[in-house]
C-alpha cells in the first residue's frame, strides 16, 4: 500500500527534523548563557557616602525583567576594583576585564545586583546610610551607572576563555520574592521599603529576618518536629549549700587605741634657700660701637655667576650631561626666555655641547622638522623637554658626546 509507505516516510522525516531540538548542544548553550549572565564586580574595599538600598526589576542578557538589589551611592571610592564580563560567542567564551590599579572615584553611582557577598554593614531597604564601608565585595551586577567616574590606571583587556571568579550565591530575599505572584510582589517590595527591612548583611542572617518581616516565612532547618510532651518536673531541687546557722567570726581585731603621729609638728618657719639680689646684674654684651660689616655684597652679576657655574659644570663634565645638569640648564633658559643653545654663549665648546643636547631632545620629542626648524613655541618646547628629562631616573645621563 503506497500511502502507508508515504506516511511512514513523512513521520521519519519529521522525527529527524525534530532531533536537533533535543540534542545536548542546546542544553549546553543554555547553561553557558546562564553561566555568563551578569558581570562580576570585585573590590577590596568600598568607602562611600549616602548609601541607599532597594529592590528593583532590571534587564539581563537572558531576561527582560529580573528582581535585583539596587545599591546607590552619592559618592564612593573603590579600591582594588576589577570587573569581569564573560561573553559566550559562537566560537567559545571570551572575557572582558576592566581593572583599576589605582583608586576609582564615582559620584551618583547605581548598581543592580542579583548576588553579593561582603564584609561590613547591613543593607536595609529604603534607609540612607550617611557613611558606609564594605570590604571584600564580590557581586554579580547587571547594570551599573555613574554620573562621574575617575578611574586611575585603568586596564581594559579582552581575552579568550572564562576568566570570571567564583560567583556569590543569589540573595535569599530575591529568591523568596521571585516565587510570589506579580500582584503581591509590588506590595511586598513597598512593605520592605517602608519598613526599612534588612536586605543583605555580611553574615546573611538578617535575610531571614527580612523574610519574616514580609510574611515570607521559612522554617529553620535542622530542628525536628516536637512530638512528645515534656514531662512535668516534680522533685524540688536539692540545695547545694548548707544554710548559715552561726555568725561569722571577725577576721580583723577592732581598733582600740589612737594612731601614733609619724611627723613632728612644724613649729618654725622654713629658711630661705635663695639670697635676695642686692646689686644690679653686670651687662654681658658690650655696647655695639661700630656698624656691622655687610655680609652679602651686591647682587649685580649674580645671575651671570649662576650661568657661569652651570656652564662650568658642563665644561668640567666634558659634555656628559646628567639629569640634574640638564634641568639646571633648562631652568636657566626658561628664566631668561632664550633657547637652550644660547645659555652658554661665552664658551664655544660648551655651547656646542648644549646645542647637541638640545638637538637630541628635540629629535626624541619629534619637535623638529626635516630642515632642523623647531616646531612650536620655543618656551613650550623647553617645558616639554624639561618634562621629558624629569621622567628620567635621578643621575641618568641625558647626553654624552
Amino acid at each position: 500500500m503506497w500511502w502507508k509507505t508515504k506516511f511512514i516516510l513523512i513521520v521519519c522525516c519529521l522525527t529527524l527534523m525534530c532531533l536537533p531540538l533535543l540534542s545536548p548542544a542546546n542544553s549546553i548553550k543554555a547553561a553557558e548563557n546562564s553561566n555568563t549572565e551578569g558581570f562580576i564586580i570585585e573590590a577590596d574595599k568600598v568607602v562611600g557616602t549616602g548609601m541607599k538600598a532597594s529592590i528593583v526589576k532590571q534587564e539581563t542578557s537572558t531576561s527582560n525583567s529580573k528582581l535585583m538589589l539596587r545599591i546607590q551611592y552619592e559618592s564612593a571610592t573603590i579600591y582594588g576594583m576589577k570587573l569581569t564580563k564573560p561573553v559566550s560567542t559562537g566560537k567559545g567564551t571570551v572575557s572582558i576585564t576592566l581593572s583599576a590599579n589605582g583608586p576609582v572615584t564615582v559620584y551618583g553611582m547605581t548598581v543592580d545586583t542579583t548576588a553579593i557577598s561582603f564584609k561590613g554593614a547591613c543593607l536595609k531597604a529604603g534607609e540612607t546610610i550617611p557613611e558606609l564601608g564594605m570590604e571584600n565585595v564580590v557581586m554579580v551586577a547587571h547594570y551599573m551607572k555613574s554620573e562621574n567616574s575617575i578611574i586611575e590606571q585603568l586596564v581594559l583587556n579582552t581575552v579568550n576563555g572564562n576568566a570570571q571568579p567564583n560567583k556569590p550565591g543569589q540573595l535569599q530575599i530575591l529568591q523568596d520574592l521571585a516565587v510570589l505572584p506579580l500582584s503581591q510582589l509590588d506590595k511586598e517590595i513597598e512593605k520592605m521599603t517602608s519598613g526599612q527591612l534588612p536586605l543583605a548583611c555580611s553574615d546573611g542572617s538578617i535575610q531571614e529576618e527580612a523574610s519574616r518581616g514580609t510574611g515570607i516565612e521559612q522554617l529553620p532547618d535542622g530542628i525536628g518536629v516536637v512530638t512528645d510532651p515534656l514531662e512535668p518536673v516534680l522533685d524540688p531541687l536539692e540545695p547545694i549549700l548548707d544554710p548559715v546557722t552561726k555568725p561569722l567570726e571577725p577576721i580583723l581585731d577592732p581598733v582600740t587605741k589612737p594612731l601614733e603621729p609619724i611627723l613632728d609638728p612644724v613649729t618654725k618657719p622654713l629658711e630661705p634657700i635663695l639670697e635676695p639680689i642686692t646689686k644690679p646684674l653686670e651687662p654681658i654684651v658690650d655696647q655695639v660701637t661700630k656698624p656691622l660689616e655687610p655680609i652679602v655684597s651686591g647682587t649685580v652679576g649674580a645671575a651671570d655667576q649662576v650661568v657661569q657655574t652651570v656652564c662650568t659644570k658642563v665644561r668640567d663634565a666634558n659634555g656628559v650631561i646628567n639629569k640634574q645638569l640638564a634641568l639646571e640648564l633648562m631652568d636657566e633658559a626658561i628664566s631668561k626666555k632664550i633657547p637652550l643653545n644660547q645659555v652658554c654663549q661665552e664658551n664655544k665648546s660648551v655651547l656646542q655641547m648644549v646645542g647637541n643636547l638640545e638637538d637630541s631632545l628635540l629629535k626624541s620629542l619629534g619637535m623638529v622638522d626635516l630642515f632642523g626648524k623647531i616646531l612650536g613655541d620655543p618656551i613650550d618646547v623647553l617645558y616639554k623637554m624639561r618634562d621629558k628629562v624629569l621622567k628620567k631616573p635621578d643621575g641618568a645621563i641625558i647626553y654624552s658626546p
Binding site: E59, G90, S95, N148, S149, I151, Q153, V155
Partner: protein, 190 residues
C-alpha cells in the same frame, strides 16, 4: 630604390596640449590646496598591518560606546577584541607605531602628530587599553539579545583618557584633521 614605408610626420596641436595641461595642473593644484587648507582626510581606515600601538598624552571625546567583538589580528583569524566608538574627539601628542622584525634587527615605523588631532566617527578595535580614564554618565548594562555582541554594552556621554597606550587591531575615522604629521622609520633595540 624607394622605401615602401612612408613616414608620416605627426603634429601636435600646441593650443590643445597646453590648455589640457593647464587644466590638469589647475585641478590637481586645487585638490592639493583644498587638502592643505583644511588638512582633512575622509574615510581613513588603518588595517591589514596586524596589531599596532597607539599612544597619546590626552584624548577628549564625546559619545563613547564599547562592545565586544571577534576580529582578525596579525597572528589569528579570530581573536577577542573590544570595539570603541567615539563620535567626536581630539587627541594631543598622538603616536602610532608598528615594530617590524627585519632579519636580526627591529625597525619601528612611527606616525606622529605635533599638533592636536581632530577626528569624527572613530572606530577603534583594541585588545588592550591602559590609561587614566574619566567618564561622564558611564553606563555598563546587559541587554536581552540573541546577538552576543549586543548582550553587554558600555556607554558614556564623554570620555577623557590620559597617558594612554592601546594595542590596536583596526582603526577607522570618518574624518581626520592631522596637522603636523610626521612619518619616521627608525632602528630600535628590542
Amino acid at each position: 630604390m624607394e622605401s615602401p614605408v612612408q613616414l608620416v610626420e605627426g603634429r601636435i596641436s600646441k593650443k590643445v596640449f597646453w590648455s589640457a595641461m593647464a587644466a590638469g595642473i589647475l585641478a590637481l593644484g586645487l585638490l592639493l590646496v583644498s587638502f592643505g587648507i583644511s588638512g582633512v582626510a575622509y574615510a581613513v581606515p588603518i588595517a591589514g598591518v596586524g596589531d599596532f600601538y597607539v599612544e597619546f598624552d590626552k584624548l577628549e571625546g564625546t559619545g563613547y560606546t564599547f562592545y565586544p567583538k571577534m576580529g582578525e589580528t596579525s597572528s589569528s583569524d579570530s581573536s577577542p577584541q573590544g570595539t570603541n566608538l567615539i563620535e567626536n574627539l581630539t587627541i594631543t601628542n598622538l603616536q602610532l607605531y608598528k615594530d617590524f622584525n627585519v632579519g636580526d634587527q627591529w625597525i619601528r615605523v612611527k606616525i606622529t602628530a605635533s599638533k592636536p588631532v581632530q577626528i569624527t566617527g572613530l572606530q577603534h578595535d583594541a585588545g588592550l587599553i591602559e590609561a587614566n580614564a574619566k567618564f561622564q554618565d558611564l553606563v555598563l548594562q546587559e541587554k536581552n539579545s540573541t546577538d552576543w555582541q549586543k548582550q553587554f554594552l558600555q556607554t558614556s556621554s564623554s570620555i577623557i583618557l590620559e597617558n594612554a597606550k592601546l594595542k590596536t587591531h583596526y582603526l577607522f575615522q570618518k574624518t581626520i584633521n592631522m596637522n603636523g604629521m610626521k612619518l619616521t622609520i627608525e632602528k630600535i633595540n628590542k
